[in-house]
């Protein structure tokens, strides 16, 4: 347990002091991206990892919140009402989405979420009078929470870090809560949970809502970061990217999606500097991870680490 706390403290110190030892606006921006994509991946991980419900339409929920911020700001609303509106719209969309997708589980859930995601993408692409089509919506400026200006890269990084820490804490509390335990129960033994008197559908529904909340928050951070939203954000590629973060890092673990987000964002930023073929690499990594390391990097590494540690102490058989 003590090693755990030291690692946590070291990570916290590293994150807080990051702008001081990581020089250059570019790297601080990459760090911000990792943090808000980690929030997104944490959100997807709630249902995909802990609930066993793999969604391939999460980018649409992410995109809805971002679009609502853009649309409301364009129509003269303030930042506070834009953010509030985006959260409400994201939650409402999630409720409809969950009510439909939870007609099925497993493969059926994937199909329905994929179809819903693609339909919302098509809507963003073609409903030009509202979304401005392929040209997207541009934002001008970031909000000033409590009068603090977050237009600089460093200030935005700290704002994102605060949201990120809150999201991690919320997920940690959720996982240890009775609802979190019940959710994992519905993943592993849905019929037994039903027989025990748990309302399996309601548990899954509320897990989807929590997932949708985190996704909306990440979407709002995203749109304030890029100052731009276009249908590309809702595309299947984006849903697949965030799913890759969850699976690559390790679905159903707290740390997995964060590590996965770091991995995908870094590989994407590094690779796009050299070649244009990010989608090919995304597909190849997907296939490789699913076939070679289905448990993900974090559980895989933990297993190897434990084995090495036990071997050193001579306790392993």
């Amino acid at each position: 347990m003590r090693r755990h706390q030291i690692a946590l403290l070291a990570a916290a110190v590293a994150l807080v002091t990051l702008p001081y030892w990581m020089s250059g606006v570019y790297y601080i921006n990459v760090a911000s991206q990792i943090l808000f994509f980690a929030v997104f991946a944490l959100g997807l991980n709630i249902i995909a990892g802990y609930g066993g419900l793999v969604s391939l339409g999460h980018a649409a929920l992410f995109g809805i919140s971002a679009y609502v911020v853009g649309y409301l700001l364009q129509h003269g609303f303030g930042h506070a009402s834009a953010i509030l509106g985006a959260l409400l719209a994201g939650l409402a969309a999630t409720a409809v989405y969950a009510a439909l997708a939870l007609r099925a589980t497993g493969i059926g859930f994937i199909m329905i979420t994929l179809a819903l995601g693609e339909i919302l993408w098509g809507l963003a692409y073609r409903w030009i009078s509202v979304t401005n089509g392929d040209n997207g919506i541009n934002l001008h400026g970031r909000p000033q929470p409590f009068g603090i200006d977050i237009n600089s890269a460093t200030a935005f990084y700290y704002a994102t870090l605060i949201v990120f820490v809150a999201a991690v804490a919320a997920v940690a509390v959720f996982v240890r809560s009775p609802l979190g335990a019940a959710l994992m129960g519905t993943r592993d033994q849905p019929r037994r949970m039903n027989a025990l008197g748990y309302h399996v559908w309601a548990i899954r529904f509320w897990a989807c809502m929590f997932s949708g909340l985190l996704t909306s928050v990440a979407g709002i951070l995203f749109v304030y970061y890029t100052q731009f939203i276009s249908p590309q954000t809702l595309a299947l590629t984006s849903s697949a990217e965030v799913l890759l973060m969850v699976i690559a890092g390790g679905a159903g673990t707290l740390l997995g999606p964060i590590v996965g987000a770091g991995l995908v964002v870094v590989v994407k930023s590094v690779v796009s500097g050299f070649i244009e073929r990010w989608n090919f690499l995304l597909g190849a990594i997907f296939v490789a991870i699913v076939i070679l390391m289905p448990e993900g990097l974090v559980p895989g590494t933990v297993r190897l680490w434990r084995r090495a540690w036990q071997g050193k102490n001579g306790t392993s058989p």
Partner: protein, 290 residues
């Protein structure tokens, strides 16, 4: 009146194309229990292959129909390779198989972009079908009527294959109860390869046949895959009749939607899916709830 008549013919044509695409999708889904997310990519790959064969970029210039059959055969082989080399590595793990098909679809899309570039390729209508048909005040392109005939012929052939042959009986047995089919000595995993290749070939053929209407462009895969998904959710998985009826319905809704409210055409597809999911989750003619 003429407007509605033309729109109706267009809807049936599009429904026919969708049937060619979704029949294989539905069979693969019925047998292997996975939505094959490469299906849109196979459609696009077939269309690009066909356009290349027809355009004569490989020094040889093929007739439209020869090119369509060649494209279907090459993509069928590609499908068989995917099934044998990758999906076979993950027996019984449906979730992992779906993710592998998703990964492959990105690789295929990027590969096509690399090879054929970002500009749309227009494919000329085959010579015999280039004309028009007059029916009173309405004028129909002959090719669209030809597509309807082809789709009907292939639907009949597929029905004969599934309903009247030994292979068809084995496939139906595999769809209804894979474990029991294995017990009575049917090699279900071999059927997987056959059905996957068949579905891939049909999708590619649909891609070439659709090319003179839709043209060939990057992103065609992402336009077609959701349509196949919605058809199968609507019609029910593993049922030929389901994909036929579903395709026609979606063909109508999509075309009428595009003509009447172009901005929301994609969204209107959502309505039949919504109704089916609420009232009949296994789809209109589905054999099981996925």
């Amino acid at each position: 009146m003429t407007f509605w008549l033309v729109l109706t013919v267009n809807s049936i044509t599009f429904g026919g194309l969708l049937f060619l695409l979704s029949a294989g999708f539905s069979l693969i889904f019925g047998l292997m229990r996975i939505p094959n997310l490469t299906h849109g990519s196979l459609f696009m790959l077939g269309a690009y292959f066909g356009a290349t064969f027809i355009g004569g970029y490989l020094t040889l210039q093929f007739d439209f129909w020869v090119a369509a059959v060649l494209a279907a055969l090459s993509v069928a082989v590609f499908g068989a390779v995917i099934e044998r080399l990758l999906l076979r590595q993950l027996p019984g793990q449906q979730m992992a198989q779906v993710l592998v098909t998703l990964g492959i679809s990105f690789m295929v899309a990027d590969f096509c972009l690399l090879l054929w570039g970002g500009d749309p390729i227009n494919v000329a209508t085959p010579q015999g079908l280039a004309g028009f048909v007059r029916a009173g005040p309405a004028v129909f392109p002959l090719y669209r009527l030809g597509v309807i005939a082809i789709a009907a012929a292939i639907a009949a052939a597929l029905w004969l294959l599934l309903d009247r042959t030994r292979l068809g009986a084995m496939i139906r047995a595999g769809v209804d109860d894979p474990d029991m089919a294995r017990v009575v000595g049917i090699r279900v995993s071999q059927l997987f390869t056959i059905v996957f290749a068949l579905g891939a070939g049909l999708a590619a053929f649909a891609g070439v046949v659709g090319a003179p209407i839709l043209s060939v462009y990057p992103g065609l895969d992402q336009d077609m895959l959701p349509l196949a998904l919605v058809v199968v959710i609507l019609g029910g998985s593993g049922s030929l009749l389901g994909s036929f009826v579903g395709s026609i319905i979606i063909g109508f809704i999509y075309n009428f939607g595009q003509a009447l409210f172009p901005e929301l055409a994609y969204f209107v597809l959502f309505l039949p899916m919504l109704l089916v999911l609420i009232l009949r989750p296994q789809g209109l003619f589905g054999r099981f709830v996925p």
